[in-house]
Amino acid sequence: MKFIPRQPREGINVSDTHPLVEAGTLIVGLTAIFICIALLLIFLVEIALYFVPVEKEVAMFENWLPEDLVTVSPGDERLHQTQILVDRLAFHWADAPYEFRVEIDDSDIANAMALPGGLIIVTEGLLDQVESENELAFVLGHELGHFRNRDHLRALGRGIVLSLFFAATMSNDVSSISLSVTDLTLRGFSRKQESRADEFGLALVYTHYGHVNEASRLFEKWDDDDSTMLDVVSYTSTHPDAGDRVESLKEQALREGWPVEGVITELKW
């Protein structure tokens, strides 16, 4: 037999789909699927919440504290006064199902959290920033609003959904991207929860004091400090933009006919 040198045609073992086109299709397609699955899981979390009544939750978390919590001393006057304020505000909530406990976190960052079992945590940083009892009352009322909507349990559900996605997309490189996409979707719902808690908080403040003066002062302060707020940032954060929150509260007061002027109550420490 004779050897005749010949070469095969170029490109048989290579597909002619442009890699960017393939990348684009995959990314867009999978993002859409991820968002749908995230929405579905959120829906399932809602259904699950329906089956965990408050009594069971209270029984499970009765004396629970987060592990890494550093609290101020139990004799602290601020703790005492804040607990009194919470009890007074909760009094206005007709069938409050929880016995609310207050703890103060020894942290400089201003924050307040609603945790399972009726636990409210405020940080030292927050207490340093409030200048009147009305402001603090609004913050606490906001947290009570979370309890009413059972948002604290939803936050747990959100954490579980995120870990599920992280585990499901097994390749390391893809996990971080899928995590970001899912997280964004879930943060949209988080912002809505915050708005509803704001509304409940303001209602409690009005019922307790007879007016809503100074309630939104904290947000106004944050809005002023934030000179770098871009629209993209408020879209990606878990809370609505501070300026928007102030606007919503003003609108609510106007709508309900609540007076925005009134005597400010001093902090009792």
Partner: protein, 168 residues
């Protein structure tokens, strides 16, 4: 409060960084790949006259005086862009088209290196060519991450008795 700045930074890092790396990997990778393919095509036409076959017995008209084993191998790495696309593909399944040019040029490069070794040592043809692929795993991540792919080509190179026995 500078939380706004931190949040902007977080948003940029969460999205911007992977996208930036992806695009960088894509553009640089494509450029290097095209250059490699050009080099491969040039060398293939240069070596076109050199017989390379997978027969495991020599053609009858080859009379060999000496023979040896020759090999050519190359290790190629998977760039970030390809890995991400493959990761996405592993969810829905199907052909991973981004890997195909990579493996194609790895294989052709390995064959060319084998031919170069044979020619350099004065041989006239290679037969019983075999090709093997293996995956090199990263030592971190429990060996799950692929560090690269090795393509090996090996065969038996022969020298002919006379220079005219090759092509007739």
């Amino acid at each position: 409060m500078d939380s706004g700045f931190l949040q902007t930074l977080e948003a940029i890092l969460n999205f911007g960084l992977p996208i930036f790396l992806l695009l960088l990997a894509y553009f640089v990778g494509t450029m290097l790949e095209r250059r490699h393919f050009r080099s491969i095509r040039n060398r293939e036409s240069e070596f076109a006259q050199f017989p390379v076959v997978t027969f495991d017995t020599m053609p009858a008209d080859w009379t060999a005086t000496s023979s040896t084993l020759v090999t050519g191998s190359v290790v190629v790495s998977l760039d970030y862009f390809k890995r991400v696309i493959a990761g996405l593909r592993a969810i829905v399944g199907g052909r991973i088209k981004t890997y195909e040019p990579l493996l194609d040029r790895a294989r052709r490069e390995a064959m060319l290196r084998m031919i170069e070794e044979a020619r350099r040592d004065g041989y006239d043809a290679v037969f019983n060519v075999r090709l093997e692929t293996s995956r090199l795993a990263n030592s971190s991540g429990e060996g799950k991450r692929t560090a690269g792919v090795e393509m090996l080509a090996f065969g038996t190179a022969v020298k002919f008795t006379s220079r005219f026995a090759r092509t007739s």
